[in-house]
């Protein structure tokens, strides 16, 4: 009889444990919180993806050293999608189904994010996009997706207004943009600023994505007498444009957006890049906040990894900090739904000074951060802050 009772008790306990395990929220245990991400760790996009991953690594190590999130250790899972949307979908499946992450803090770009969204929506997984804010991602809005940074359209408008304040009113302006959704947003922001300020724009030149040679665009800009060139390019194209401007002898100011503002760009552009002005929503490594980040990076990263840091490391860091804040506010009852709800109430979330405070709401899933401006200094090999 006693044996039967013991057996019955054991069976009931096993069933209860199994039920508890089944009812447990994905990505959360008593001791761990799992977050995932998928970016290009190889291929042409690796410069961005690796830096982002390293920034997240620093943030996670810092959080864990400080005791984790409400006592739970933060564990990260990171996949390489090579900047190919179909691979992002598969990576997302792995993160959600196999690794069972609570939320996703990184995805390669616009296409990859949109491709991964249906699965995220189905499973109620909160997603953060801290590197690219295209209109197409957030319009229409998605319950699961949050953006942190600056939308390209309004950001470009603000940037052009800043540049106009430093430029002769009679100067002729031109925009050179990529023929994709990113270029569309930059173009609309540029045209809005031109209209509002009554600037003299001599046109918008669109180039094919992946284009390597820009002599036609730069010659045209020279012929049209452009003195201000607003670039809607990423990294390699900005390098090609700056070099072509120097080769052809076009004496104009090249202005680039944050997507291409990495220290490696100055090396790649060489002397041709001296004086290029950039806008960004994350600070500089030379700022006090940037130096504090570097101190942590030196603690948690290898010497080889330190050489791969750039602004995307800061966006990665900020993403983890924001997600950790939302998880923390969930207390002990952490769930995907709770994290989404808490992200929607993120108010003045501090990022250790790397960006302006982050604010999100149920109606606004994109935190529009404050822009700052820098100029490329080839001698110092760094982006030097510009006074307003």
């Amino acid at each position: 009889m006693t044996r039967k009772l013991t057996l019955l008790s054991a069976t009931i306990a096993a069933i209860a444990l199994t039920a508890a395990a089944q009812a447990a929220e994905p990505g959360v245990t008593a001791t761990e919180v799992k977050l995932g991400g998928s970016t290009a760790l190889t291929g042409p996009g690796a410069l961005v993806g690796i830096a982002h991953d390293l920034g997240e690594k620093v943030a996670a190590a810092e959080i864990n050293d400080a005791g984790g999130i409400n006592g739970r250790k933060l564990v990260r899972y990171f996949e390489d999608d090579g900047y190919v949307p179909s691979r992002t979908v598969q990576a997302m499946r792995k993160l959600v189904e196999i690794d069972e992450v609570l939320g996703v803090t990184a995805s390669s770009g616009t296409a990859s994010t949109i491709a991964a969204l249906p699965l995220a929506e189905e499973k109620g997984v909160p997603m953060l996009q801290t590197a690219a804010q295209n209109t197409v991602m957030f319009n229409p809005p998605h319950k699961n997706l949050f953006g942190v940074g600056r939308s390209y359209g309004p950001g470009t408008t603000e940037f052009v207004k800043f540049l106009a304040g430093r430029t002769d009113k009679s100067a002729k302006w031109i925009a050179v943009v990529q023929d994709d959704d990113y270029g569309d947003d930059v173009q609309s922001g540029y045209e809005k600023a031109v209209k509002e300020l009554g600037l003299t724009s001599v046109g918008v030149l669109r180039y094919k994505r992946g284009q390597k040679e820009f002599s036609a665009e730069i010659v045209k800009a020279k012929q049209l007498g452009a003195k201000m060139i607003v670039s809607g390019a990423i990294i390699g194209e900005n390098v090609a444009m700056a070099k072509e401007m120097k080769r052809i002898g076009l004496d104009a100011q090249l202005a680039i957006l944050w997507s291409g503002r990495i220290p490696q760009l100055i090396d790649l552009m060489g002397e041709a890049g001296n004086g290029v002005i950039a806008a960004d929503y994350v600070g500089e490594f030379s700022d006090p906040a940037g130096q504090a980040f570097m101190a942590k990076a030196k603690k948690y990263l290898t010497a080889d990894e330190l050489t791969k840091l750039n602004r995307y490391s800061l966006t990665g860091y900020v993403g983890i900090m924001l997600m950790a804040d939302a998880i923390k506010r969930c207390g002990q009852e952490v769930s995907r739904a709770c994290v989404i709800a808490k992200l929607e109430t993120a108010k003045d979330v501090q990022t250790n000074g790397l960006t302006s405070p982050i604010n999100l709401s149920a109606d606004n899933h994109v935190a529009e951060l404050k822009l700052s401006y820098t100029i490329a200094d080839f001698a110092k090999k760094e982006w030097v802050p510009l006074a307003k």
Binding site: L41, T42, Y83, Q90, I114, A115, V136, D181, R209
Partner: protein, 348 residues
């Protein structure tokens, strides 16, 4: 011990499959494939679905490359045409998948004629470059045709409800893909055993002789392009539903290279080879990743930090090794293995 059986009459030569044993193998294979979604998680199912979709495309691609001997690098282009056609019809016009998939095949088949006509005078590398150019042009047109394709912003593809089956479920999509693959295989095998198939083989083996025998080479080359591309287009439609989002980045030229690899590794000219090759090549990176992870240490690190580079090296190595040591592909290797087992312990 069983000796080799050679076909001795017309009926044997035009049979859909080899015989009773092959039918049994197919039935077992189909049964296992149909049971798979009930036994694995969504991640594995995602890969299995991708294998099936790739296999549909490879079966179609094999008609052109394997049976007609026309070297094409236009696979990505035809896949994109099919994907965008089905995606547009379902998302913008609300077409049922039952109508959208055949439409994807028809449009892709018709577009292939545009490539097929100029390529009638081209062979080998020249044809390969022409079809490669087609893929490049297709990608540019996708970007330009914004009202239809969404341009660079892409196109969301819904997964509809068909006969009460909600295709938002991965399991339902897998079963649909399995069904389409079965249809594609039956379609291809029927072509192979018909006059059309024999005409295509004749063109591949000796074009002049085929012409002398009365084969209308122009018509059959075009037909081969159209049939092949139609099946690839249907695979594209399924691919779009699998991804649920289409973007020009999903149809890069590497897909065309992979398609050629698949038919070579599987066994050029073999339908079973196209399916085996698809499974092998789609799963190869994941299998390699698992193997590297199991090895742990620095080997595991190599794959986690250089996945795509390692994948590229492995792809190249596998193709070189197959061409050198097993030119008849996986199908040939399996046949040799089967023959050895049947004849054992005799060597011949």
């Amino acid at each position: 011990m069983q000796a080799v059986t050679f076909p001795t009459n017309h009926a044997d030569l035009t049979r859909l499959v080899g015989g009773g044993r092959q039918w049994a193998l197919i039935a077992i294979g189909l049964g296992l494939a149909a049971a798979l979604p009930y036994a694995v998680n969504s991640y594995v199912l995602g890969y299995a679905t991708l294998v099936l979709i790739t296999a549909v495309g490879a079966v179609g691609f094999n008609i052109l490359v394997g049976w007609t001997g026309l070297v094409s690098l236009g696979y990505a282009g035809f896949l994109a045409v099919g994907a965008y056609t089905a995606g547009f019809l379902m998302s913008k016009w609300g077409w049922s998948v039952l109508a959208a998939l055949p439409a994807a095949g028809i449009v892709s088949g018709l577009v292939s004629l545009l490539v097929g006509i100029p390529s009638l005078r081209l062979k080998g590398l020249y044809l390969a470059i022409t079809t490669l150019a087609f893929s490049v042009i297709t990608n540019h047109l996708i970007l330009l045709a914004k009202p239809i394709t969404g341009g660079s912003a892409g196109l969301r593809v819904p997964r509809p409800v068909v006969f009460g089956i909600d295709m938002t479920s991965d399991r339902a999509l897998y079963l649909i893909c399995l069904f389409v693959l079965a249809l594609a295989v039956i379609f291809a095998l029927n072509i192979r055993r018909s006059y059309v198939g024999r005409a295509l083989f004749a063109i591949r083996d000796y074009e002049v002789a085929a012409r002398v025998l009365g084969v209308n080479v122009v018509a059959y080359k075009l037909l081969s392009f159209a049939l092949s591309s139609a099946v690839i287009g249907i695979a594209g439609g399924l691919f779009g539903m699998h991804l649920r989002y289409l973007n020009v980045e999903s149809f890069e030229l590497i897909l065309s290279i992979e398609a050629v690899s698949i038919v070579i590794v599987g066994g050029l000219g073999s339908v079973a080879g196209a399916i085996l090759g698809s499974g092998f090549m789609v799963l190869l990176p994941e299998m390699t990743r698992l193997a590297f992870s199991a090895a742990g240490g620095s080997l595991g690190g190599v794959f986690s930090s250089n996945a795509q580079e390692v994948k590229g090296v492995i792809f190249g190595l596998v193709i070189i090794l197959f061409l050198r040591f097993a030119p008849s592909g996986l199908v040939g290797a399996f046949r040799r293995l089967g023959a050895r087992i049947r004849r054992w312990p005799l060597a011949y």
